[in-house]
């Protein structure tokens, strides 16, 4: 019947081989717990505090813990340290000695560290019978500090009803526990009692508190050792199912076969042949992209007229939805052909332009193929034929200009028509449009007019937004042009 930190054995620490997500967190917390209690390396002072007629053993103040966390985990904001400490408490690694609610406060409130026996990394899943024994035990002992809280009294009543037949057994167990406890040293008893209470605060939390033992069901399957799960705090085994319903049997790991390894080798060889970019180029590219879209990012640049979520005004969205494209939007089309095509208004403008040049067949082909890919499976074959007839067949009404190689490939694909029959052709046409029609579109009078139309308005806005930007960050080193341009104009 003996339990408690005395018979720890190797039970305290998390299994180093178990790398399930929960264990990873427990190991990190336990690392913190070891460090924080270690005198030699600047841990917190754990003392016995004198209070009225009695002594309070082995406590540390909340403020000390917060200080330690801030110093040793490089946290600048005390609020963050308090939050982290509260989480460590909620998981069950430390607790306030006079409260059931497991949070950390940055003041003189006293806290105690949990015994390794009770650590969550031991995979505890205590049964209700144990909880019943525990509550029963508490009512038997005449100590003010062991009185049941309201919710605990309710729980006990409920359990009494549920375990009506077993109650004699539970009562006996509780009595036995009390006898064993009486033999222990008074100070030790105080500590043990508080630790036991904290354990139950984690597994049977105060109503309204977060139950930190809840698990993400997707990760449950991989618990390696159902045997490792501890169910009984007091050495009482439950008659009913030995396996927790949450632990499903582990799927046997598929052994890697020769084919698997051969596939890996082929894959690795392909990777070796791949042409990769240098980091410096990649970094430049990411930075340029971010810089380019800085003005369009509502988190970095206040949208015009306002962010609907902040001002409760939906004008911003209404403007976007209207057929009149704003200057910012038109500017965005100039970034790449992709941007133009993604924006429905941009697409329309581009289409109008190429129609005016009598070269719309390329864009229409591209749009048709995009549409094809979005059709339901049944409609695919028919549509493929239609596209072929319209754009590619000899004597087609909207014949597109394909190189012979792509044409060959596409005609081959027509024998087994599918969603991706025109991939080659589409890529080729896209490149053509990009270098040819798109470039001309950007130079065209229609586009330039759209861009310039709002230019006057932009200058006024420019002054306003530049002031806003000043309060956040001064100057733009990458493209100083814009800011200096504005400064020159104003």
């Amino acid at each position: 019947m003996a339990q408690g930190p005395k018979d720890q054995g190797g039970v305290g620490t998390a299994d180093p081989d178990d790398d399930s997500p929960n264990m990873i967190v427990y190991r990190k917390i336990e690392d913190i717990i070891y460090r924080i209690q270690d005198d030699k390396t600047g841990g917190v002072p754990i003392r016995t505090v004198k209070s009225f007629l009695s002594k309070i053993p082995s406590v540390v103040t909340g403020a000390d813990i917060v200080q330690w966390l801030m110093k040793n985990l490089i946290i600048e904001d005390p609020a963050e340290a308090i939050h982290l400490g509260s989480l460590v408490a909620a998981q069950g690694y430390l607790f306030p000695i006079s409260d059931h609610v497991l949070t950390l406060k940055d003041d003189g409130t006293f806290y105690r560290f949990q015994a390794p026996y009770f650590w969550p990394s031991n995979c505890w899943e205590p049964e209700n019978t144990d909880y019943a024994i525990y509550l029963c035990k508490r009512t038997m002992q005449n100590k003010a500090r062991l009185e049941l809280a309201d919710y605990e009294a309710e729980n006990l009543a409920r359990l009494q009803r549920a375990f009506a037949r077993k109650w004699e057994f539970i009562f006996m167990q509780a009595e036995a526990q009390v006898k064993v406890d009486r033999k222990k040293d008074k100070t030790e008893r105080k500590i043990l009692d508080s630790q036991e209470r904290a354990f139950w605060d984690v597994h049977r939390p105060v109503p309204g508190c977060v139950n930190t033992t809840e698990m993400d069901i997707r990760k449950c399957r991989r618990m390696k050792n159902p045997q490792k799960v501890k169910k009984s705090v007091y050495g009482v085994t439950e008659d009913s199912q030995a396996q927790s319903p949450v632990h499903m049997p582990v799927q046997p790991q598929r052994k890697t076969t020769k084919e698997d390894v051969q596939k890996q080798i082929t894959f690795l060889n392909t990777q070796l042949d791949r042409h990769c970019m240098k980091m410096s180029k990649v970094a430049e590219s990411l930075m340029t992209y971010t810089e380019q879209f800085l003005d369009f990012d509502p988190f970095l640049t206040m949208p015009d007229p306002s962010n609907p979520w902040i001002s409760d005004d939906t004008t911003f969205w209404e403007l976007e939805a209207s057929k009149e494209p704003g200057q910012q939007r038109v500017k965005r089309w100039g970034f790449s052909l992709d941007e133009t095509l993604m924006d429905p208004v941009g697409r329309d403008q581009f289409l109008k332009f190429v129609e005016s040049e009598f070269s719309s067949e390329n864009l229409r082909f591209w749009l048709a193929v995009q549409d094809l890919k979005r059709r339901p499976l049944q409609a695919v074959s028919a549509r493929v034929q239609e596209i072929w007839q319209e754009f590619l067949a000899p004597g087609a009404p909207s014949a597109i200009n394909l190189d012979s190689h792509s044409y060959e490939r596409t005609s081959q694909n027509m024998k087994d028509p599918g969603r991706y029959s025109f991939e080659d052709a589409q890529e080729h046409i896209y490149k053509l449009m990009k270098s040819d029609s798109y470039a001309r579109f950007l130079r065209s009078s229609t586009y330039q007019e759209l861009l310039l139309a709002k230019k006057k308005l932009e200058n006024e806005q420019g002054r306003r937004t530049s002031l806003e930007k000043f309060t956040r960050s001064v100057g733009k080193s990458l493209t100083g042009k814009r800011l200096t341009g504005l400064m020159q104009s104003s």
């Binding site: 790398d19 997500p21 990873i24 967190v25 913190i32 985990l73 490089i74 904001d77 963050e80 340290a81 939050h83 982290l84 989480l87 069901i217 997707r218 990760k219 020769k258 390894v261 051969q262 890996q264 990777q271 070796l272 990769c276 970019m277 240098k278 980091m279 990649v282 970094a283 430049e284 590219s285 990411l286 930075m287 992209y289 971010t290 879209f293 369009f296 990012d297 509502p298 988190f299 970095l300 949208p303 609907p308 979520w309 939906t314 969205w317 993604m342 995009q370 890919k373 979005r374 059709r375 339901p376 049944q378 991939e423 309060t471 956040r472 960050s473 100057g475 733009k476 080193s477 990458l478």
Partner: protein, 393 residues
């Protein structure tokens, strides 16, 4: 071989080469065969060769991996944050919760925005899937799924349907109707069938195709109308937890992350894995493409988020802090790609400067794990869903 003497049990046609010879009685696995001495020798040698090849293949694979690392490392001439020193630091951010959506009876597991930038769909452990107008916080539709733990939900690009699934191993599509008399559940369409839970789903550019990821280790592309499987993607060694489609109009790829710590990039057309990244120490809970489509970020239970670039074919940044010890559950970029929003199991949301690698802000507010996070289509806000039953915008 001819001068080998052995105890011949019988004389007759060999089971393998059919020649009439003295035969030996041998056992292969649990079956008994009568082979002539020549065939026995050959069998024994073949067995040896098989074993050799498996381990030699494994060695070859390892050598290739090392070589690949070396080659990639040669191109790693500078760190991203070093180059980003040139860029201005971001100022202080004041980000507040602008809307709180209450109504779910249990943990919120997943959410997705509608293209109209204000509606969103969310799913929860109690089996309910709710469509909200987040701007007014009104609930517009609600469906009760027959299973609990609805882990995935998605909004169709047209805004006329939603898809969801979870422990039922299926992905179902519900057309959204404004007719009060119509029961949404009646028009339900079962599209995807997996052999394990559905962990993520997403419509491609159209309402007609859905991409799903499942606990059975595969991803699959389905035709919504017929429910037919168009393409399946095999390669993960464990549950696939998340996926994201490439953002461009011409994109044909998607990235997936799983419990095998790998993030893999796939070609939608062929079903082949194009690239693979394995630097996380634990499950990858969420992946999201950088807005340009050239890179993607991943959030993992090892409490870090990492940025991988597809052109450099390697990890280019890690976002972590000593004080962050709980796993990251979800990640998304702001519109320009400068900010990375990540939700953690420690109830907080951290905002990172993607280029510099520093944390810009930490947001408190949720009272339990943040399970899902998405930036709205126009980047004006982001929504986080949590185990505390609420969603915040």
């Amino acid at each position: 071989m001819c001068d080998q003497t052995f105890l011949a049990i019988s004389f007759g046609p060999c089971d393998k080469c059919v020649k009439t010879k003295p035969l030996m009685n041998i056992y292969i696995k649990t079956d008994q065969f009568n082979y002539c001495s020549l065939c026995v020798e050959m069998m024994a040698n073949e067995g040896l060769r098989d074993n050799e090849t498996l381990s030699s293949l494994k060695n070859e694979s390892e050598t290739l991996k090392c070589k690949l690392e070396e080659e990639r490392a040669k191109l790693h001439d500078v760190e991203l944050h070093q180059v980003a020193d040139r860029v201005d630091a971001l100022g202080q951010f004041v980000m507040k919760t602008r809307r709180t959506l209450k109504g779910h009876g249990n943990k919120v597991l997943c959410m997705d925005w509608c293209k109209d930038k204000r509606r969103l769909v969310s799913s929860s452990q109690d089996g309910k899937v709710i469509v909200w107008d987040a701007f007014t916080t009104n609930k517009e539709h609600a469906v009760t799924m027959p299973c609990t733990w609805v882990m995935a939900c998605a909004y169709a690009p047209s805004g006329c349907a939603i898809a969801c699934g979870g422990l039922d191993n299926k992905c179902s599509v519900y057309p959204l109707t404004f007719d009060k008399n119509e029961n949404m559940a009646a028009k339900k369409k079962s599209v995807a069938m997996h052999t394990n839970y559905l962990s993520a789903c997403s419509f491609t550019n159209s309402d007609m195709q859905i991409l799903t990821a499942s606990g059975d280790g595969t991803c699959a592309l389905w035709d919504v109308e017929s429910g037919q499987l168009l393409q399946s993607f095999h390669g993960h060694a464990a549950d696939v937890l998340c996926l994201d489609l490439a953002p461009s109009e011409t994109g044909n790829t998607f990235v997936s992350g799983g419990c095998d710590k790998k993030a893999m990039v796939w070609d939608l057309r062929s079903g082949q894995c194009i690239q693979s990244f394995e630097t996380h120490d634990s499950d990858i809970n969420s992946v999201r493409y950088y807005p340009s489509g050239d890179a993607f970020a991943s959030a993992s239970d090892d409490a870090t988020c990492r940025l991988y670039d597809l052109r450099a074919d390697r990890e280019v940044a890690i976002y972590s802090k000593e004080s962050i010890i709980f796993g990251a559950s979800s990640v998304d970029f702001s519109l320009s790609g400068r900010l990375l929003f990540t939700g953690y199991n420690d109830y907080t949301i951290n905002v990172w400067d993607v280029l510099k690698g520093t944390r810009v802000s930490i947001l408190f507010g949720h009272e339990n794990r943040v399970s899902t996070l998405r930036v709205s289509p126009d980047g004006t806000a982001f929504c986080s869903g949590s185990w505390d039953h609420t969603l915040r915008v």
